[in-house]
Symmetry: C2
Subunit: 340 residues, 2 copies
DNA sequence: CCTGGAAACGTAACCGATAACGATTGCAGT
DNA sequence: ACTGCAATCGTTATCGGTTACGTTTCCAGG
């Protein structure tokens, strides 16, 4: 039942207990300088009135709130997995978590969202923030850890070993016999997108296969961005026999387009993704992909942020986590029929 | 790069523009009574200083914040799926979302968490809240929608048709020929747990199979709670030939225990869950379960909350969504060998 | 020239909680 | 009895932004 009763404030408690708000504050925060008898009175008043301190009011005044923040521009599987890791790291740590997600009012990928959210939160709702896939460098009064940071950033961050992961993925395709391998890139400003493209190029070059720029499509990690790119690649007279997409979300769209255009996977086309989001295992065939343990990314980011906030600072400021190739049904040797 | 520069406040802007903070506030909020020239000055000062209004400060004074809240006591797959639906419903709605999750400081299932969080947020950070699987009725100044509410609640809520879903699940097992069917119940206080147990009983009774109380284990939806219960059921001299768990999380634990004790699934034991979390499709064999579209639950809850907050109120206050049986590999007809 | 009233803007009182500070009291030491 | 210190508690400024209200400015109408 929703009782729209007036909120109980600290002064209500103070009045009920016959003390000042300052004393109530001291009791609530366990500070020094209150007699046992007064503490009991205040406690009982709090109990009776059902008082809970206002996060808003206290964080305006206080410097430390014991709340960490996470800002994300959207909420996809990727973010959800990261969150699980963050929650795990924060469990029983004494830190609560506030996730701030906007409603895409300015379009789904509007530049600078993280800065807006961050300044809105950091004065002073949170003691520190995790930013997932930012658009640029951010400034903040409180510590910030980036997950999948922008290229060239030297700020604290956690990311996967994207170069090695992408290289392995493409080597897997090369090992199956593919030579014409398309690539759908991620958002250019992110270090991950850059490294994954580097891995693609490195693997091809390492195998003596020239890089064909016309086989590279420029996406932005947004699944929808891959659809037209995949269509272009597959409608060529000489389509590639395999496509490596820089994220699973985009790879799933490639599968969609392939089906739509009558390509059988993996018969006519092999597809590899990157991320290993849960959905990748559910498609038919399952998506071969590079696992980057988004859970782990979240876990490490939260750990790092905690140590930054508490001032322990005993870790490197940039963590790189290993990746792992997960081979499923979407990759197979090329059939000669599919190649011109 | 993290620049630990002092935050830009409204009075900084006011000073720079040569006006009072009141005027700045009027400009920021688009209120009436500011000359075009002054507006331009203030806008330029805001631009130059990179000012962003503080969510904390403004929500302390203002009644409306255009931010909705979601409180959850933990962050599992279930919550993640719900969140996706919530975000979808809120996209481009003008409402931002704050998710508040605690760090389990008081143990993973401490009563009253949602009330604590709610009062902390609702005075007055958020315009309304969604509470996922609450422990009890809550009171709040602002509207509250419960996802999977407590038993007997008449407050606004969204839930699956748990009775029909559970009935279908058990009828599926009965149809395969099972007669000794174990049940692992969910947290008693939730309507969903109650209805799922009712469905279990109804299906058995409907098929003329007496309900054996010793085949019912009392879990709490927490996956870990199922492990000892499954062990008890399966170590009996006369173990059931099938187990229906009230949630996928618990069902997966049943699979774990079964493997550990040497039961082959579905040969010696059939297992059915409820929820259809992503992991259920990934196990070997896949888990037969009842899909309740947690995405849809979140979506509808957010839609309802929006209409409550804006005062439209054109929907029923309790929504029940249909369920769907998803048959995978974990169920099969019982083998006579497994039955005493 | 005077008046009325609207427009434009500043002042100050909030919102709820915190903390610096001062005042008062109790008590041990001398 | 006097001093010093610590314990206890109230007063008040403060955080950043919002808003009721008061003040000033300016112009049209008389």
């Amino acid at each position: 039942m929703i009782e729209v009763n007036a909120p109980v404030t600290m002064s209500d408690v103070a009045r009920a207990a016959g003390v000042s708000t300052a004393t109530v504050s001291r009791v609530v925060n366990g500070h020094y300088g209150v007699s046992a008898r007064t503490i009991a009175q205040v406690r009982s008043a709090i109990e009776q009135l059902g008082y809970e301190s206002s996060l808003v009011a206290s964080s305006l005044r206080r410097s430390r709130t014991n709340v960490l923040g996470l800002v994300a521009h959207s909420f996809q599987s990727y973010t959800a997995e990261v969150l699980k890791g963050v929650m795990k790291a924060l469990s029983k740590s004494g830190f609560d978590l506030i996730i701030y997600a906007n409603s895409d009012l300015y379009g789904s990928y509007s530049e600078g969202w993280e800065q807006r959210h961050l300044t809105r939160l950091s004065g002073t709702l949170t003691d520190g923030c995790i930013v997932v896939t930012p658009w640029g460098e951010v400034r903040s009064r409180t510590p910030v850890v980036a997950i999948d940071p922008v290229r060239g950033s030297t700020a604290p961050s956690v990311m996967a070993d994207n170069l090695a992961g992408a290289t392995t993925a493409v080597e897997h395709l090369l090992g199956l016999g593919h030579r014409r391998i398309g690539f759908i890139a991620g958002r250019d400003s992110l270090a991950s997108a850059w490294s994954r493209e580097e891995g693609y190029r490195a693997a091809l070059t390492g195998a003596g296969v020239p890089v064909d720029p016309t086989l590279i499509g420029r996406g932005d990690f947004n699944p929808e961005s891959a659809t037209p790119l995949a269509r272009v690649l597959l409608q060529r007279p000489d389509p590639p026999s395999a496509i490596f997409a820089a994220s699973d979300g985009m790879a799933l769209k490639v599968l969609e387009v392939a089906r739509e255009l009558g390509f059988s996977v993996p018969g006519d086309l092999s597809v590899v993704g990157f991320d290993n989001i849960p959905e990748s295992a559910l498609t038919e065939p399952g998506l071969t992909t590079v696992d980057q343990s988004m859970y782990q990314l979240g876990y490490e980011a939260a750990r790092m942020l905690k140590s930054l906030v508490t001032g322990e600072w005993d870790e490197p400021s940039q963590i790189v986590l290993p990746t792992r190739l997960v081979v499923r049904g979407s990759t197979a040797p090329p059939t000669s029929a599919a190649r011109p």
